[in-house]
Subunit: 181 residues, 2 copies
C-alpha cells in the first residue's frame, strides 16, 4: 500500500492514459507518482599520483574502501555533486577536470557517475560517513577491500588511462552478481 504525497489518499498501481508502464496513481486527486533511477556522483581525486579513498563508516559495505560519492541533490550540477561529496566524505577540496565514467546498475535503479580531478592541497579529513581517509599509490590501493564493483571498475580504468597518458570517458553496465563485490 502506498499513499499520495500531495493529498495523503491511497494510490493504486495503474497504467496512466498514454503511458505504457504501471505507476502509483492517487485514487483521490489522480496525481501520478513516477519513480526514476537515482544518480550517484563520485570523484577520483588525485594528489601527486596518489588517489583519495575513504573507508565507509555506514552501511552498506561498512569498513570497505570507496571513492567519495553519494546521491546527487536537487539544485546542483553533476560536477557540484562530485566536489561536494569529496568535501563531505574526505574533507578535501578538488578541482574537477572532467567526467570520467558512467556505470548503469539497472537492477538497483542506480546510475553511478564518476568525475576525475586534482586535489588543491594534500589536506584531507574523514567526514561523518567515513572511518578514515587516505591517499594511495596504485599498488597500495586496498583492491580486495573495495566497497562496490563500480568503484573497482572506475579505479582500474583510471589507472589504465593514466598509464597511456590519455583519459577517455568510460561506460559500464553491472548486472546482479551476488557472489562478488
Amino acid at each position: 500500500m502506498s499513499f499520495c504525497s500531495l493529498c495523503g489518499a491511497g494510490t493504486l498501481l495503474r497504467i496512466p492514459p498514454g503511458d505504457n508502464l504501471p505507476r502509483q496513481v492517487c485514487s483521490h486527486c489522480g496525481h501520478i507518482h513516477y519513480e526514476n533511477p537515482r544518480l550517484i556522483v563520485g570523484c577520483i581525486a588525485e594528489w601527486q599520483g596518489r588517489i583519495l579513498l575513504c573507508r565507509r563508516a555506514i552501511e552498506p559495505r561498512l569498513g570497505y574502501w570507496t571513492l567519495p560519492a553519494g546521491f546527487m541533490e536537487n539544485g546542483e550540477t553533476t560536477a557540484d555533486a562530485a566536489r561536494r561529496e569529496t568535501i563531505e566524505e574526505a574533507g578535501a577540496q578538488v578541482d574537477i577536470d572532467a567526467a570520467f565514467a558512467i556505470v548503469s546498475i539497472a537492477h538497483i535503479n542506480q546510475i553511478h557517475l564518476f568525475y576525475r580531478g586534482q586535489m588543491r592541497t594534500p589536506a584531507y579529513q574523514a567526514g561523518e560517513e567515513s572511518l578514515e581517509v587516505g591517499l594511495f599509490l596504485p599498488d597500495d590501493i586496498p583492491w580486495h577491500d573495495l566497497s562496490f564493483r563500480s568503484v573497482k571498475l572506475c579505479l582500474e580504468a583510471y589507472l589504465a588511462d593514466r598509464r597511456c597518458g590519455n583519459f577517455g570517458f568510460h561506460e559500464h553496465e553491472l548486472h546482479p552478481d551476488p557472489g562478488a563485490l
Copy 2:
C-alpha cells in the same frame, strides 16, 4: 503540505540527524523522503549523414523540434533508455555508439544525457508524443525552432565533432535564461 508515501500521515520539513539539508520527514513513521534530480536520456541518431528529429506533440515546447529523449525508467541502463526513447518517439531502431554529452540544469533539477548512434534502417514513424519525425542534413535542421537549449548545444557539438572526425564526451551547465530557448 505533503504526505508520507508509506503511511499517509503528514510530513514536516526537517533536517534529519547526520544530514545537512531539510527533507520531508513523516510525522508518524519517521520515513525520510529524499528528492533527487531526474535523468533525461536522449539520442542523436544518424542515417547517412542525416539526423533524426521529432516535432513535439506535448508540452512543454509543443510544436518545436527535438531529439528523441525522455525520463529514464527504473530497471534500465542509460543506453537502454536512449534506445527506448528513439523507438517510442521516432519509431526508429538505433545502434548506440557511445555517450556523447551530459548537461546539468540545476535550477530545474534535471540532468540531460545524450547518446549518439546509427539507425539500423531509414525507417521512422511519429510516436504518440511526436507530431512528425524527419531526417535532417545539418543545414536543414530547424535551428530556430528547436525545443530546448540542451538539444541545440548537443547538435552543435555533434556536428563540430563530426567535421573533425573525432567524437568526444561533452559537458555543459545551463543556467536560467528566460528570454532564450
